[in-house]
């Protein structure tokens, strides 16, 4: 009796095992592949300072290749770009009625070059919703280039897309005023160097 029950139990276990084996096998394969995919995706989305630095270096090279030499020097030395406003009449230089300061990942600030008076902040971003490395933010210099291209190509459209605020919403007005002063000093120095090199020549 015991022997018969034991044999029956063994047969039952073997039968259940045979029935379950394909399902278990598939489950194990699924588990392994999902773990591998998870490892892969977390490796590509994990914050990697080296990758971010390389991305920024590429972005700086692209920015430099697109803008004028003086503008590149301004960005390199001061950390922002100035674009003269005027909806098409940028050849007037310092007499432009207004201008923009472009900061990386910060609002564009409009101001009056003659007086330094701050006009508005234009909050605008260029989010890449595909988030290739887990973030929608472009490298800093790509953000500056995107703003510069959009402003110089179609100022009205970019300003239309932006959220307009009074100065001080996101960037300290004192900081912007200091930047305007720094920019004026930087331009004087650069003009002085130019005049000096012309005299020497």
């Amino acid at each position: 009796m015991v022997l018969a029950l034991g044999t029956g139990a063994v047969v039952l276990v073997v039968l259940v095992w045979e029935l379950m084996r394909p399902t278990l096998k598939r489950a194990v394969v699924r588990l392994r592949s999902s773990r591998a995919a998870h490892r892969l995706s977390s490796a590509s989305t994990r914050y990697d300072p080296g990758r971010e630095r390389r991305a920024e270096q590429r972005a700086r090279a692209l920015l430099r290749s697109c803008i004028a030499e003086d503008d590149w020097a301004m960005y390199r030395d001061l950390g922002f770009l100035r674009v003269l406003g005027g909806l098409g009449d940028r050849d007037t230089g310092a007499r432009a009625a207004y201008a923009y300061l472009i900061y990386p990942h910060k609002p564009i600030v409009a101001y009056v070059p003659e007086t330094g008076e701050l006009l508005n902040e234009y909050c605008v971003a260029f989010p890449d919703h595909s988030k290739p490395y887990g973030s929608a933010r472009l490298p800093q210099s790509d953000d500056v280039l995107a703003k510069w291209m959009a402003l110089t190509a179609d100022e009205r459209r970019l300003i239309g897309e932006a959220n307009m605020h009074l100065p001080g919403r996101q960037i300290e007005p004192d900081r912007v005023r200091r930047d305007v002063v720094r920019l004026a000093g930087w331009e004087r120095q650069r003009d002085g160097h130019r005049a000096g090199s012309v005299r020497t020549a």
Binding site: C66, H105, V124, F126, A150, T152, N163
Partner: protein, 87 residues
């Protein structure tokens, strides 16, 4: 001509490259161009005016791209709003 796209965490990538005067290349460039626009990207062509001023031109179709352009740069379309200040 090169089609470039700005990419978070990477910088620009080359989407397609070719000679617009070669029909096969041009087809490839047009396809890549449309794909980016379909994804909601803006396309800009860096230019230089006769006076030497650098600027950019936004284009909405491949036909608008000047034939002698070296690059078209795609970037995500502008959206109102910006990250909170950290300074």
């Amino acid at each position: 001509m090169k089609l470039l796209r700005m990419k978070p965490g990477h910088g620009e990538i080359v989407l397609a490259e070719g000679d617009v005067e070669v029909p096969q290349d041009e087809r490839r460039l047009i396809e890549a161009f449309r794909r980016e626009l379909d994804q909601g990207m803006w396309a800009a062509v860096p230019t230089e005016t006769a006076g030497g001023r650098r600027e950019a031109e936004l284009v909405k179709s491949f036909a608008e791209v000047p034939r002698d352009s070296e690059r078209v740069i795609f970037f995500p379309r502008a959206a109102g709003g910006s990250a909170p200040a950290t300074s």
